[in-house]
C-alpha cells in the first residue's frame, strides 16, 4: 500500500513539475508550486519522515507561496516568451539526466534494510539515544543534541538571510510614517474571512507553541513551530493590515528577537563550555546528564523557534512594505 501511494504521488509530482515548466502565467506557476509542495509533504509522510512532512507543509505550501505571490505583485504576472528554441539546454539536460539514471542503476533498492546508509551512525541513534538523551523523537535528539553544531549553523544561515532581506528591501522611515496611518489591508472587506481568522488566530498560535514544546515526544520542534507561528501572524497581517500587525510586532522587536534566538543557542553552548563540557555538550548543564540534555534541547529549540519566527515575519513585512511603497509611488 505504501509503495502504491508512493508511485501515484511521485507521478503527480512529475506532472505538476512539467506544468510549471510549460506555463507562462506566473500566477498559475506559483499556485502549482504550492500544490507541488503539498504533494511533497504527503510523500514525505508516506516515507516515514513525519517531521520533514510537517516542515514542508508549513514552509512550502504556506510561506513560500505567499512570498512568491508578494513578489509577483511587484514584478508583474506574465513571463515573456523566449525568442529562441532552447534546444541546447534540452540536450544538456537530457545528457545529464541519462548519466544520473546510469548512476542509480547499482544503488541499493528502495526500502532495503541492509543498504549502507543504515549501517553507519543510524543504529547508534536508534539504540542508544533513549539512554543518552532520553527523548523519544530521535529526529529531535539528533537535531538538537548529536548534531547541535550543525543546527546552530543552519539557524545562523536563516538569520543571515533575514539580514539580507532587511538590507535589500529597506523602506525609508518617512514613507513608513506617512503610510502607517492609512494603509488598509487588501482584504479589508472580506468580513467572513476576518471573523473566521479572529477565531482561528489564537488556536494557530497555541498550536505553534504546542509544536514547539511537544517536539521531544512527537513530530515538531523549533523550525516547524517558528514557521507556524509566523504563518499565524502573516494571516493576521493580510486581513487586518500591516499597520495593526506592526503595532504588535514592531520591526525593532523582531530584529531583536531574531538575534536573541541565535544568541540563546550559542549561549547555551558557551555555558556548557564554562561548566566544563564541550561546546553544546548538554550533559554538563545538570548533575544528571539526561536532565541536562532535556534542558539543553528545550533552550536550543526555543532559540531556533524565536529566530525562525522572527525572520519569517520580518521577511513578509518587508515584502509587504515594498508593495505599499510602490502603491504610494504610483499615486
Amino acid at each position: 500500500m505504501e509503495t502504491l501511494i508512493d508511485i501515484v504521488l511521485l507521478s503527480f509530482l512529475v506532472l505538476t513539475a512539467l506544468a510549471v515548466a510549460k506555463m507562462h502565467d506566473l500566477f498559475a506557476v506559483v499556485m502549482l508550486s504550492g500544490i507541488y509542495s503539498l504533494l511533497t509533504a504527503s510523500l514525505f509522510l508516506d516515507l516515514d519522515a513525519v517531521d520533514v512532512a510537517f516542515t514542508e507543509a508549513s514552509v512550502g505550501a504556506g510561506i513560500s507561496t505567499l512570498l512568491m505571490l508578494a513578489s509577483l505583485k511587484l514584478v508583474g504576472r506574465y513571463e515573456t516568451r523566449t525568442r529562441y528554441r532552447p534546444m541546447l539546454a534540452l540536450g544538456v539536460v537530457l545528457a545529464t539526466g541519462a548519466l544520473l539514471i546510469y548512476g542509480t542503476l547499482d544503488m541499493p533498492h528502495f526500502g532495503s534494510a541492509d543498504a549502507p546508509v543504515h549501517q553507519h551512525v543510524a543504529p547508534r541513534y536508534l539504540n542508544d539515544s533513549m539512554g543518552e538523551v532520553g527523548v523519544p523523537n530521535v529526529v529531535t535528539s539528533v537535531l538538537a543534541s548529536y548534531r547541535g553544531y550543525d543546527t546552530l549553523g543552519e539557524t545562523l544561515v536563516v538569520f543571515t538571510a533575514g539580514i539580507g532581506v532587511i538590507s535589500l528591501l529597506r523602506v525609508s522611515r518617512r514613507t513608513k510614517q506617512q503610510e502607517m496611518q492609512k494603509v488598509p489591508a487588501d482584504m479589508q472587506q472580506q468580513i467572513i474571512l476576518r471573523v473566521v481568522v479572529k477565531w482561528l488566530l489564537p488556536l494557530i498560535l497555541i498550536f505553534a507553541l504546542y509544536v514547539q514544546f511537544h517536539g521531544d515526544y512527537g513530530p515538531g520542534g523549533g523550525f516547524q513551530a517558528g514557521v507556524i507561528f509566523a504563518a499565524g501572524i502573516i494571516l493576521y497581517t493580510m486581513l487586518f493590515g500591516l499597520s495593526n500587525a506592526s503595532r504588535v510586532f514592531p520591526p525593532k522587536l523582531l530584529e531583536l528577537l531574531a538575534a536573541l534566538g541565535v544568541l540563546l543557542y550559542g549561549g547555551v553552548g558557551i555555558v556548557c563550555m564554562l561548566l566544563g563540557g564541550n561546546f553544546l555538550d548538554y550533559n554538563s548543564l545538570r548533575h544528571d546528564p539526561v536532565h541536562g540534555q532535556h534542558l539543553g534541547i528545550l533552550l536550543v529549540e526555543l532559540g531556533v523557534g524565536l529566530t525562525v519566527a522572527a525572520v519569517m515575519i520580518t521577511i513578509f513585512f518587508k515584502f509587504t512594505w515594498r508593495t505599499v511603497k510602490h502603491k504610494y509611488l504610483e499615486k
Binding site: D6, D48, G97, G111, A161
Partner: protein
Amino acid sequence: MNIIGLYNYWIVVVLMMIGFYVVIAHENLIKKLVGVSIFQTSVFFFYISMGKISGATPPILDDHYQLYSNPLPHVLILTAIVVGIATTALGLALVVRIQEAYGSIEEHEIQDQDTQDQMESRLEAYGFRKKHVLSVQNLDE
C-alpha cells in the same frame, strides 16, 4: 519488485532535470527561482527515499515497534527546507530590486540594458560627450 526498486530514484532524476531545464532555458527570474526550488525538492526526495526502510515506522521510539526508518536524512532535510525558504526569500528580494533598477526581470532585457550602458561609457571614454557628463563637471566646480 525489481522495477519498483529504483523508481523513486528515477523520479528524483526526472524532477531534478525539469528543475535544471527551467533554470537554464527560461529567462524570467521568478520562473528560475521556482525551477531552483523544484531542483531542491528533488534532492530532498533523494535523501528521504534513502532513509526509508520497508515496513518501518517513523523514528519516534516506542515499545511496540522494533523497526524504524533512518532518522539522519530527516534531520538534514528538515533544516535544509527552512534554510531553503530563507534563501529563496533572499533571491526574491534581489529579483524585486532588479525589477526596480531595470524595469524588467527578463534576462535578455537586463543584458541589453547593460550592454547599452557599457557602449555609452566606452563612447564617453573616446571623447563623445553626453549630456550627463556636463553635470559631472558642474559637480567638480
